[in-house]
C-alpha cells in the first residue's frame, strides 16, 4: 500500500499531510484527537537531510502541540549508503532523531510506528523502532538484509539459511518474524483507523518487547539474560 | 561443527580450589580456553567445540603433550575453537594452565 492510499484509511475524518519528495508530515484527525504524522515513502533511503527533517517535525510538535501523539509512517530501504553521509556523521543525525523521539515520550506525547511498506536496518532503527510501540501491515516487509546478500556476507549457503528460516525467526526477513521477536506489537488489517484509535488509547508502559519476544517464542533468552545481568550478584 | 571429548588420569589435584580462568579470544584461526575446577574423581576432562571437522587425532596428540606438561586433576578444560593451528592451541593451553595453576606445573 502506498502512502496516499494509507492516509485516508488511517484518518477517514481527514488529514492535512503535505508531501515533499520522499518526506511527508502534517496533522491528522484520529477519534477526538489531532495527531502529527511524520513519514517517508518510496522506500526512502535515510541520510542526513531526511533524518534532520524528521527530527524537525518531532521538535515542532513538542514545541507547538503539547501532548499531541505522533504517528510514524516510515517506508525506507534503510540508511543512505554514501561517503558523504558518513563524512557528515549520519549516525549522529539518526541519534539526534532518536533523542527527539525520547524527548517527545518524556514530554507526554504518545509515539506510534506503523510499517506500511518496507522497514530496513538502520532506517527502521532510527524511526519506527523507537516509537513507544510499533505495528505493521501484513503485506509490509521488515528486514536487516535479504537472504542472498546474507549468504554472501556470512558465507553460509543460501539453502541452509532458507531451511533454518522455516523454523527460526531470528534472522530471516518478514513482519511475522518481527512480531514473533516482540518488535511488532500486532499486525493490522481491516479497519486501520479503529486499530489506530485503540492503540493510541492504550497507556505507555515502557519497553516490553523482550517480554513479548519470550512469550511468543521468538527470543527465548533476551528477557532472562537481561534480567540476570540486572539482578545477579557479581 | 564437531564436539570432541578427552579424559586424562594420573594428574595431581591442586591444594586449593582455583578460580576459573579464561584465555584467548574466539577469533578466526584462534581459540578460547576456559579452565575450571570440577569434581571428576581425579580426572582431567577436556571438551572441544571446533569449527574444523575431522581433526580428532591432531587434537589428541596436542592434548597428550599439554597434559604431560600440566598434569592437573579435577579440572575441566572447555575449548571453543575457530580453526587454530596446533601451535596456537598449545600456546593458549599453556597460557591458560599457567594462569590457572599459578605457574607451577
Amino acid at each position: 500500500m502506498d502512502a496516499e492510499t494509507l492516509l485516508p484509511r488511517l484518518f477517514p475524518q481527514g488529514h492535512a499531510v503535505v508531501f515533499d519528495g520522499e518526506f511527508f508530515t502534517g496533522p491528522a484527525r484520529c477519534g477526538a484527537t489531532d495527531v502529527t504524522v511524520i513519514g517517508a515513502r518510496n522506500k526512502a533511503p535515510i541520510g542526513v537531510e531526511l533524518a534532520h527533517r524528521m527530527a524537525d517535525a518531532v521538535l515542532e510538535t513538542v514545541r507547538e502541540h503539547p501532548g499531541r501523539p505522533m504517528v510514524l509512517l516510515v517506508d525506507t530501504a534503510g540508511q543512505r549508503l554514501s561517503r558523504r553521509d558518513e563524512l557528515l556523521g549520519v549516525n549522529g543525525y539518526m541519534a539526534h532523531l532518536a533523542k527527539c523521539l525520547e524527548l517527545a515520550r518524556r514530554s507526554g506525547h504518545r509515539t506510534l510506528g506503523l510499517v506500511y511498506g518496507e522497514a530496513v536496518s538502520g532506517g527502521f532503527l532510527a524511526t519506527s523502532l523507537l516509537a513507544d510501540v510499533c505495528y505493521a501491515l501484513p503485506e509490509a516487509e521488515i528486514r536487516v538484509m535479504n537472504l542472498p546478500a546474507m549468504a554472501r556476507v556470512t558465507k553460509i549457503p543460501l539453502e541452509r539459511l532458507q531451511e533454518l528460516s522455516t523454523t527460526s525467526a531470528v534472522f530471516a526477513p518478514g513482519v511475522e518474524n518481527y512480531h514473533r521477536m516482540g518488535a511488532i506489537r500486532a499486525l493490522w488489517d481491516g479497519d486501520l483507523s479503529a486499530h489506530l484509535e485503540a492503540a493510541l488509547g492504550e497507556p505507555e508502559e515502557g519497553d516490553r518487547r523482550r517480554q513479548d519476544g519470550e512469550a511468543r517464542g521468538g527470543r527465548t533468552l533476551a528477557r532472562a539474560v537481561a534480567d540476570r545481568v540486572r539482578r545477579d550478584a557479581a | 561443527m564437531e564436539t570432541l571429548e578427552f579424559e586424562y588420569r594420573g594428574g595431581r589435584t591442586a591444594l586449593t580450589r582455583n578460580k576459573p580462568v579464561l584465555s584467548g579470544v574466539l577469533g578466526s584461526g584462534n581459540l578460547e580456553v576456559l579452565v575450571e575446577p570440577a569434581d571428576l574423581g581425579g580426572a582431567c576432562q577436556i571438551i572441544v567445540e571446533t569449527a574444523a571437522v575431522g581433526f580428532g587425532e591432531t587434537w589428541r596428540a596436542v592434548l597428550d603433550d599439554v597434559f604431560a606438561r600440566w598434569p592437573v586433576a579435577d579440572v575441566r578444560i572447555s575449548i571453543n575453537d575457530a580453526g587454530a593451528t596446533p601451535a596456537v592451541v598449545s600456546l593458549r593451553l599453556d597460557q591458560a594452565l599457567k594462569a590457572y595453576t599459578g605457574g607451577a606445573s
Binding site: 557528515l88 519497553d207 518487547r209 523482550r210 545481568v229 557479581a234 | 575453537d81
Partner: protein, 292 residues
C-alpha cells in the same frame, strides 16, 4: 600486557583501565551464557558472546561497564550480547554508578541473528536514553581495530560523550559495505587515509561528533574518562534544539564538501593535509579553537 588500546583485547582493556582488583564481572564466561543460534549455522560460539559486562572503579569512581570484543564476529550484536548490554544499562538505574562506560568495538547487528540483533540495539537505545534521563552519564570509549559502526554507531551518539583515539573509527555504514554496494568510486575502502579522514577519530573530533581525542593508550583513555565523569546528561528541549541547529548548520557549511580536508579548510585550519600526520598533542594544538 600492552598499553595500547588498539592492540588490546576487551578483557585486556578492562584489566589495564580499571583500578587494580576492582573488576567484578556479571555472567562471567563459566556461566556459559552464549548464543543458542550460532551452532546451527556452523559457527563456534564464545562463552561470553563477545561482550563483557561488570562493575569496577576508575580513579576511585564507581562505574558499570560494557566492553565489546571485536575479534569475535566483529563485535557484532546478537540476542545474548545485546541482552547483556541492556541488562547492564538497567542495572545502572538501580545501582546509580558515577557513570556507565561503553567500551565499544562493533560492526553493528550480527547477521547470523539479524532480527534479534536489530531489536536488541533498539532496546539498548531506549535503555541508554532512559538511563541518561534518570541522570546517570553514559560515556563511549572508541579506539579498537574493528571500529564502531552500524547500530552501535547510533548508540554511541546517544550517549553523553564519545572519547575517541586517532585509531578509532565511528560511523554508520562501513566503507567496505559502501564500496560493495555503490562501487569503488563512491568509497575506496582500501584507501586507509581516506577511511580515517572520513570516519576516523581526528575528523570526528573536529566535526563535533566526539568530545575528546586521545592518543592510543589505556592511560589516555582513563584520563579523558575521569575528565568527563561529572558531565550532567541534558535531554531537555533546549539542549536538543541547540543540537538541532548545530546539525543544520553542519549540512549548510559542509554539505557540499567532497572530502574532510575541505571541511577542515572551512573550519579555518591551516595546512589541513598535514593533520593526519600529526601526533595527538600537536594535532590538538594546531586545531585549538577551530572545532565545529
Amino acid at each position: 600486557m600492552t598499553h595500547s588500546w588498539y592492540e588490546n583485547t576487551a578483557r585486556g582493556r578492562i584489566e589495564a583501565f580499571l583500578d587494580a582488583g576492582s573488576f567484578e564481572e556479571f555472567l562471567p564466561p563459566q556461566e556459559r551464557v552464549a548464543s543458542p543460534h550460532l551452532r546451527q549455522l556452523g559457527t563456534p560460539a564464545a562463552f561470553d558472546d563477545g561482550v563483557i559486562v561488570g562493575r569496577g572503579a576508575v580513579g576511585g569512581r564507581r562505574v558499570l561497564l560494557v566492553a565489546q570484543e571485536g575479534a569475535f564476529m566483529g563485535g557484532a550484536v546478537g540476542e545474548v550480547h545485546g541482552a547483556k548490554i541492556v541488562g547492564l544499562l538497567e542495572r545502572a538505574l538501580d545501582e546509580r554508578p558515577d557513570a556507565v562506560l561503553l567500551l565499544v568495538e562493533s560492526g553493528g547487528v550480527r547477521l547470523h541473528e539479524a532480527n534479534a540483533g536489530l531489536i536488541a540495539i533498539s532496546e539498548i537505545m531506549r535503555a541508554v536514553l532512559r538511563l541518561r534521563g534518570a541522570g546517570v552519564p553514559v560515556l563511549v570509549l572508541d579506539g579498537g581495530q574493528y571500529g564502531c559502526f552500524g547500530g552501535m554507531g547510533i548508540v554511541s551518539r546517544l550517549c553523553d560523550a564519545v572519547i575517541i583515539s586517532e585509531e578509532g573509527r565511528l560511523g554508520l555504514s562501513g566503507p567496505e559495505v559502501i564500496e560493495t554496494t555503490c562501487g569503488v568510486e563512491e568509497f575506496d575502502a582500501s584507501d586507509r587515509a581516506l577511511v580515517w579522514r572520513t570516519v576516523g577519530g581526528k575528523h570526528r573530533y573536529l566535526l563535533g561528533e566526539a568530545a575528546a581525542l586521545v592518543p592510543d593508550s589505556i592511560e589516555a583513555f582513563r584520563e579523558a574518562t575521569l575528565g568527563l565523569m561529572d558531565i550532567k546528561p541534558d535531554l531537555s528541549l533546549e539542549a536538543l534544539e541547540a543540537e538541532h541547529a548545530r546539525l543544520e548548520d553542519r549540512i549548510a557549511r559542509f554539505g557540499a564538501c567532497p572530502d574532510a580536508t575541505d571541511i577542515w579548510t572551512r573550519l579555518g585550519i591551516e595546512n589541513p593535509t598535514t593533520l593526519p600526520l600529526l601526533e595527538t598533542a600537536d594535532f590538538l594544538a594546531a586545531t585549538d579553537g577551530k572545532r565545529a
